[in-house]
């Protein structure tokens, strides 16, 4: 009977004319990296032609996950971006990722302009998301939330850019593991039962150099005329496998080796299901060899570069061949290369020693040989590092580089962090160094974490930039393109958008010795009571030699002598 019911509802779902359209696509990009590692990027995209807003109560969900739909309508969310990352993306060895994300958890949300109490809604939303993703997002509060004025523009449609409706927070300490992956997989229409998602086995995904999973919700245009909007949910998962650790000396990769699974089918609900392998660096097969070979090739402009991909369409039976299973194999021929010189990359560190002051250095590299370009630097520093903003210096090539825009919001102790946003022009082929000194605050003793000697985290700086592109970028956002190349909207042909995150910082604050409170209490009490007390006593008391009181007879005699006018005894 369940089959019967299911088929009925399926028929209803298809046939009812008033039902909004939805569509699901899945995609896996595999890119053999320059360093010999391998980068796998999953993208799952659900687009739904519906309207969560204006009191429209949406109750029938098909492909779109209900839990997220309810979040969108309850909290009037216009755009939501959340990422969980374990590890740091090594730009120098791996180039740019398709979707950048900082280590730990990152959440940024644009609310509808109908929201009156943004802070209250944000607080509730983080708690709800914390439950949905099994993460510590409930630790997001006013001390780590900022409202960037320029760095985080909406990625979907809409002209509203009043940053009062934007909230941004990171939790650099968040550890990402299986318990975050499972709820993430449950949001997929096929779960992890069919399609590309069968590859997502946590024992392999967390045996890697880098792991990042994200959810992006935004409104998008349905067609190029943009008369109606639909909601797009993108779930992305990026993972980098380490050649040294897992290959045991053999320089070859296969789906089975990476994920301990092979593919047998596409997700039946998906309208498209494809695997792309980046073969740009390998036109004649001299670097590596891919098997089984595919005649399908595709070109896409991604991150300012025209790349060529071999495409495996999982909706075609022929892809799986006679064995009914697809196990892609990549075999390296040449040895690994040197470090890359990506056009833009950044690093950050704490300078100085001792527990009183320090200096944050942020280095931004522009490796373009002749073009300079502007970058937006966003720094959100917790209040317990007291930034001396007058010591802020920006230097490129030994010269002072004056930022054309600075937005600084000073911190308030225990209430809000520092926010520093700057628009800096990076000269060609240069390193730009931003330094600012800080003082380490002495916390109250209940404010220390349970492991105070580990140090305190400062989230990554965010560098957003329009980097000059070598090839013309595609500005039509509605044209059919691979998912990985259509995430950041492109406004002009000559440049492409890049976001780079620096490493988070671990800063030691002056920490009392918590291991011996009893000793400390005893010692201070004793010192105060015995040492200070008696010294104070000695210093303030005046000493006089007391005359013994005269006897009764002598006193009487003195009275008589006084009356007689004779000096007393």
């Amino acid at each position: 009977p369940s089959l019967y019911l299911g088929s009925i509802s399926f028929i209803i779902g298809l046939s009812s004319p008033g039902n909004p359209k939805d569509d699901f696509q899945e995609e896996l990009v595999i890119r053999p990296l320059h360093s010999g590692d391998i980068y796998a990027s999953f993208q799952f995209r659900t687009v739904w032609e519906t309207d969560f807003m204006r009191g429209n109560k949406v109750s029938h969900y098909r492909l779109f996950p209900k839990s997220l739909g309810q979040v969108i309508s309850k909290f009037s969310v216009r755009e939501l971006h959340i990422s969980f990352t374990q590890g740091y993306w090594r730009t120098m060895q791996w180039g740019q990722p398709f979707q950048p994300s900082p280590p730990g958890a990152e959440l940024w949300v644009w609310f509808q302009d109908s929201v009156t109490d943004v802070d209250g809604t944000w607080k509730e939303l983080t708690n709800v998301l914390s439950g949905i993703f099994c993460a510590s997002l409930n630790f997001i509060d006013s001390t780590n939330t900022v409202q960037p004025s320029a760095s985080f523009k909406p990625l979907g449609i809409g002209n509203e850019t009043d940053h009062r409706f934007l909230r941004y927070a990171t939790l650099p300490r968040e550890i990402v593991c299986t318990e975050n992956l499972t709820p993430w997989k449950k949001l997929l229409p096929c779960g992890s039962k069919a399609g590309l998602a069968v590859l997502l086995k946590s024992e392999k995904l967390f045996h890697s150099s880098f792991h990042s999973q994200a959810v992006h919700i935004r409104p998008v245009c349905q067609d190029w005329q943009c008369k109606t909007t639909s909601w797009e949910l993108r779930q992305t998962l990026n993972v980098v496998f380490d050649l040294h650790n897992s290959a045991q000396g053999k320089r070859e990769w296969s789906l089975f080796k990476m994920f301990s699974r092979t593919l047998t089918e596409a997700c039946p609900l998906a309208s498209s299901s494809k695997i792309y392998i980046d073969i740009t660096d390998n036109p004649q097969g001299e670097q590596f060899e891919v098997s089984p070979a595919t005649p399908l090739l595709s070109q896409a402009v991604v991150l300012g570069d025209r790349r060529t991909f071999s495409v495996y369409d999982l909706t075609q039976q022929i892809t799986f061949g006679t064995v009914r299973s697809l196990n892609l194999l990549i075999r390296w021929k040449s040895s690994e290369g040197d470090m890359l010189r990506p056009l833009l990359h950044a690093e950050r560190y704490v300078a100085g020693y001792g527990l009183q002051t320090g200096e944050i250095h942020t280095l931004m590299y522009n490796n373009h040989p002749y073009r300079s370009f502007p970058v937006l630097l966003l720094d959100s520093v917790p209040w317990y590092l007291r930034l001396y903003i007058h010591t802020l210096t920006v230097t490129s090539k030994g010269k002072d580089n004056k930022p054309s825009y600075i937005h600084y919001q000073p911190s308030k102790d225990r209430l809000r962090p520092h926010l520093l946003e700057m628009l800096v022009q990076l000269p060609p082929n240069s390193v730009t160094e931003v330094t600012v000194q800080f003082e380490r605050a002495l916390l109250k003793w209940t404010e220390y974490t349970p492991d105070p000697n580990h140090g305190f985290y400062v989230g990554s700086s965010v560098i957003s930039s329009l980097v000059p592109s070598i090839v013309a970028m595609d500005t039509n956002s509605t044209r059919e393109r691979p998912l990985f190349s259509s995430f950041f909207p492109c406004k002009e042909e000559s440049s492409y958008f890049v976001r780079v995150y620096t490493e988070p910082l671990l800063v030691n604050l002056p920490t009392p010795d918590f291991s011996m409170p009893y000793n400390v209490i005893c010692l201070t009490c004793t010192v105060v009571a015995v040492g200070y007390g008696s010294l104070y006593n000695l210093l303030t008391r005046s000493f006089q030699i007391e005359e013994p009181s005269p006897g009764l007879a002598k006193r009487i005699a003195n009275i008589i002598r006084k009356m007689r006018g004779v000096p007393p005894l």
Binding site: Y88, P103, D242, V350, H361, D451, H454, D513, V530
Partner: protein
Amino acid sequence: MGLLSDPNRRRALISLLTRLNSPICVVCYMAGVAWFMGLAFEPFTLRTYMSENAMGSTMVEERFPAGERALTTGREFSAHKKKAGGMPVDWLVKTMQARGLEVFTQRFSRKLPFPDENKERYMVKGTNVYGILRAPRAPRTEALVLSAPCTPGDSNNQAVGLLLGLAQYFRNQIYWAKDIIFLVNEHDLIGMQAWLEGYHHTNTTGMDWSPLQGRGGSIQAALSLELSSDVITSMDLVLEGLNGQLPNLDLANLFYAFCQKIGVLCTIQGKLQRNDWDSVSGYSHSVQTMMLMVMKQASGRPWGDHGLFLRYHIEAASIKGINSFRQYKTDVTTIGRLLEGMYRKLNNLLERLHQSYFFYLMPSLSHFVSIGYYMPAFGLLAVILLLRALDLWVQLVSSPGVLSVLTPLVISHLTGVALYTLPIQFQEMAVEQFPVSETEAVVLTAIGYNVFLFIYIGWRVLKLVAVLYLAVLLGCTALINFSLGFILALTLVPVAAFVTPHVPKVLSAFILVILSPACTLLFSVFFFQELQELPVSFQEGWLLYLSVISQGILDHFLYGSLVYPLIALLVYPCWLLFWNILFWK
């Protein structure tokens, strides 16, 4: 304190203290020395134990297999070093890259204030090479360092070989939670100083270095490896760092625990552990070990490449392989396993090492004396100064004019400033006038001062000020560097206690000179050699003494050691004040 509030009893107490002042002082001095000597007696000391839970309870299995290959790499390194006539930078970069590390180099140069004759260097130029093993899924916030110096000649090749071998082995492991930095530093401490300053972007000593390109976040712990032979008999642990700073005791415990587990003979100060603490020779053995530590700590110089890490709050130690003519031999694979185990445990650290002691003395690797036990020895010496001050205070009839002591104080300190600045300023001039080597010239200018001050004020006021000054000075020194404070107290306290204008002049002057800081250093040099079982003749000792002084000055200018300015600017003027009291007219 009721005792002090009661005027009668106070008077009685004071009269007792003034009447019996000298005997009490003598007793205190004896008791202080006896207490100190008692610290090395095993029943009075504590056994070491691991305080850090993250390193204590976890089990680690060591599997490093590639000792032979490491030795081959070491020989290759040696060949390339000979060919390049110094650091084989290109070869190291290529080798580290082949092992899957991110490799960076740093160039540095430094002109010494005067030529260093021990190491024959003046203009130093070099390159540090380091490779970072990035921990999988770690956000570059924490790092561990393993370093090996690239020394000229044939020594230390095995250390670099083992470092590269370990890098290769570590690279294939999945369990790293902290980045590991493999550093090969040229020109030992100067290279290390350049690297650390570059890493933390500070410049305390005016060295030129190129900025670092790659970092791994805040460094949690570091080990420096020195290994010069294919097989060794024992591993020696060196703890003493710059200005007498010591790493957390847990680092020593970790080393000891793994030596015990793997079965490597381990020593501290080059002395094996003995079990016969109840015999005279056993006791004198642990006294020797402890005295060596005290002397090394008092010198304030880094006794290994690890010594410079401590300023940056990075716990660090040097591990030296020793090859002597004993039967028991250990191969490089075993040392590799020892280091693997230590790094795996350090990798498990959740917080910086902070649980155990930072102030301690070690009479053997398995026993330690904490600050609470050794401080009374110093306290007993320091109390003599306070007693003398009390005595003088009581003897002063009228209230002293404080201004009257200002002149001798200022003059003696000006001499101190001269002693501090002139050796560097006038070393060239001295060379022109005397046909002596430059190092000796520095030293001769340094000790060529003997200023007689004749200023007419009441000597009691001056002595009171001088005694209190010395008490504060020694007290502060002992808090930072116990050994230095204790050795200075041992020699200066008797002088300060008994010098007056009324004692026999010639004899007292002789004693005063014998107990001056300069002579103390001379005796320390001979004593140190004696403790190391390398006795020297007077001639050699004198040369050693001169080189020790020039080393001390160099340490100050190169690494920021504070012993030389402390002696020149504070201790020496203080001693001059006592000299002044003796020649009172």
